[in-house]
Symmetry: C2
Subunit: 430 residues, 2 copies
């Protein structure tokens, strides 16, 4: 038997998937309605964890990379979704300036950027790439392999500022598309932009965004959705706590962290007991504005907090671009019981779903051989193997069989859209 | 060598395709702008003819069948396009009543209807099918094979009228989707509908619609598009004339027809001469509100008009549902030089492109073995072989090579969208 994915849902979660598949028209109507209340994110990728008894988003990225990991079959829908997004937000735009992350040596990121460049171009835009990194002072030609395995290239150019606009030499754009989460703050040049549309809006960057706010909104959305379907929202909703003013290096806030971890572990234990789940609870402590899998640790017992060694505390104290961690999210750990079996070996597989505007456009699995079922796969330098979804996850199968791959991926697409709806609600109270 | 499609563009048309591919971002911007001026048709299919030196739409259907002929890979984009269409037009709708053609014995039509039913369902709607045919008095279960070759089924139910609405037993819809071109008039029951949205609007049915009006609008759109690109619009624009008050049976209006055919043949001859095209011109005479390939004939010499025998005159005098022909369109004939070669035999292949709202979602070739290169393939009882497009036609290839299949199909998609824009302008002056 060739490589295959192993997962089966069980208990109440299986019933919920059945319900979502059977009532897909009502579910879509509910989603349509919710997306109409707030403008969906320009684009997003949602990391899911499937524990068979629980399926939940654990991170929602509003400046997604990984476009190189989508399947070739996903391309047309992705392009079409960006077309719709542009038509709705800024139909007059033709020229687009794409501002990427500053690190220009990560081959995988550059492949993602190249594919994003090509997708936006195919959506009917004239796209050029300009780096906000002041160290980039001359054109940089990037060669990459696109999703269709063709050799392609694009150029990263230095940015110029004039007349309230960010420009490139000989190129004046109406729209700036950001693919940089600005963990370490909005660059001054970008703040000076007056007469260009910027998407996504800068308040969705990690300069301002907080995971705890996202999951508070997700908690609302998941509750509303499950109330609508008559299901327990815990099945798709990770519990969480929140600690402020933590300093891992000098152990400030350790008690707060200890108490919240302890509380959350107890809550999970109680839920597991009620649902007759015979697993050990764990929590994941994450920097509240962190990304790239930095500033993340798995805790199985509150005592581990006091016993962190210097290396572990250092690791938790900084995230991307050297930003100091002070607020943390303590999130219910959701096991990854989805695995990819190849030549008799079993690898953890974590789904990532891409949502453009309100449309699920595709996704892939991060397949990892080394890591345990309760650890974070999005770790720096991780070597995962991307495995594009077998099907689109836009709609359910003709058969209502809840074990069909198509139906499971559709269910993933629904959960990912709930996360996108949550993201669309983040800014309102801020 | 296996089956393959043979076509190459030449001369000015090849240059135009090159231009469209190279300037695709500007072309898309132009299309976006044009679609924003008038609401695009809910759905449409556009029949194209490729003569290598000219590529033009010859018919634009606003109640398309043939959904069974799309490729499986086109499904996700088609569903997504209908989602967008519904969100824009009637976001609150959940229940949809689909009203099909009255003939319930045409296996191919029922396969198309089944696939349309399934596509609309997957777009997040609760769809049921109700026939306006008073002869249908009880539920009719239809089994069919869907695009993914799965066995599927749907039921055609008799319609009920109450409270200003068309309903089914136990089913109250907010939206009526029409897949019937109403060649013989709008059914009285449908005219009485007061509190339901009807899409497409009834004024786009053949009760009101005229091919001559469509091609007059297409003429404007093609001219604007070609002016924008600096090309001769004849390359994509079929010339036409128009005769009213024709009666084929009693030879009324024969002189008018004769003169216009003669004029048009001369115009084509002159154009061929200027472009050094060594082909015999021909025209196609079509009922102005006809469809289904009925009431269509190919004329190579004006004298043929006077020499029509009784059988030919009878054939031209009636279209679908026995409607008498009185107005005709005399359209420049566009050769079909695109062929499909299989086992050394060459078959004429005519592209049909599907557009949902403003999105090209896919298409197929009608491959026909018997018919000549200058005859109408959409003939009653025709046995064509549908061949789904190899690629989507949403965007050009990475290579700008004008001979790449992807680029040719993208060009087809652009021309089809010009026809959809023309259709969106039809109602304005009526």
């Amino acid at each position: 038997m060739g490589p295959q994915l192993n997962v089966s849902l069980c208990g109440e979660l299986l019933n919920l998937e059945k319900l979502v598949v059977e009532k897909s028209a009502s579910v879509e109507h509910w989603l349509r309605d919710s997306f109409n209340k707030n403008t969906p994110p320009f684009y997003s990728s949602v990391d899911l964890r499937n524990a068979c008894f629980k399926l939940a988003p654990v991170d929602t990225n509003l400046f997604p990379a990984g476009f190189n990991n989508l399947g070739e079959k996903d391309l047309a829908c992705t392009v079409q979704a960006f077309m719709t997004s542009v038509e709705k937000r800024c139909p007059d735009v033709e020229n687009v300036l794409l501002i990427p992350e500053n690190h220009t040596r990560n081959k995988y990121y550059l492949e993602s950027l190249g594919n994003l460049f090509s997708i936006l171009s195919n959506a009917g835009l004239t796209v050029r790439v300009g780096s906000i990194n002041p160290e980039l002072t001359q054109d940089l030609l990037i060669e990459y392999k696109n999703i269709s395995s063709e050799k392609a290239s694009f150029t990263i150019e230095p940015l110029l500022y004039s007349d309230g606009k960010l420009k490139l030499k000989g190129f004046d754009a109406d729209l700036i598309v950001i693919n940089n989460d600005f963990s370490s703050g909005i660059p001054p040049l970008l703040k000076k932009v007056k007469s260009q549309v910027i998407m996504p809006a800068l308040d969705s960057s990690w300069t301002f965004r907080r995971k705890s706010n996202h999951f508070a909104k997700y908690n609302q959305v998941a509750k509303e959705f499950c109330e609508f379907l008559g299901a327990d929202d815990w099945l798709i909703n990770p519990m969480f706590e929140h600690c402020k003013k933590i300093n891992f290096r000098n152990r400030q806030g350790e008690d707060c962290l200890n108490d919240h971890v302890s509380d959350l572990l107890k809550k999970i234990q109680m839920k597991y007991k009620n649902c007759e789940i015979n697993k050990k609870p764990f929590v994941v402590v994450k920097a509240d504005s962190g990304t790239y899998g930095m500033g993340v640790m798995t805790i199985r017992d509150a005592s581990e907090i006091k016993n962190l060694n210097r290396r572990q505390r250092n690791k938790m104290s900084k995230i991307k671009e050297g930003v100091e961690v002070s607020d943390v999210l303590i999130q219910e750990g959701v096991y990854s019981f989805e695995t990819f079996v190849n030549s008799g070996k079993e690898f953890v597989a974590e789904p990532v779903v891409y949502v453009v505007d309100r449309y699920v456009v595709g996704g892939f699995y991060r397949v990892h051989s080394e890591r345990g079922l309760d650890e974070n796969l999005n770790a720096p330098g991780m070597q995962f193997y991307p495995l594009p979804f077998e099907n689109g996850c836009q709609f359910p199968a003709l058969s209502k069989d809840p074990n069909s791959t198509t139906n499971r991926l559709y269910f993933y697409g629904v959960i990912a859209r709930l996360a996108a709806i949550a993201a669309s609600k983040e800014k309102i109270d801020n």
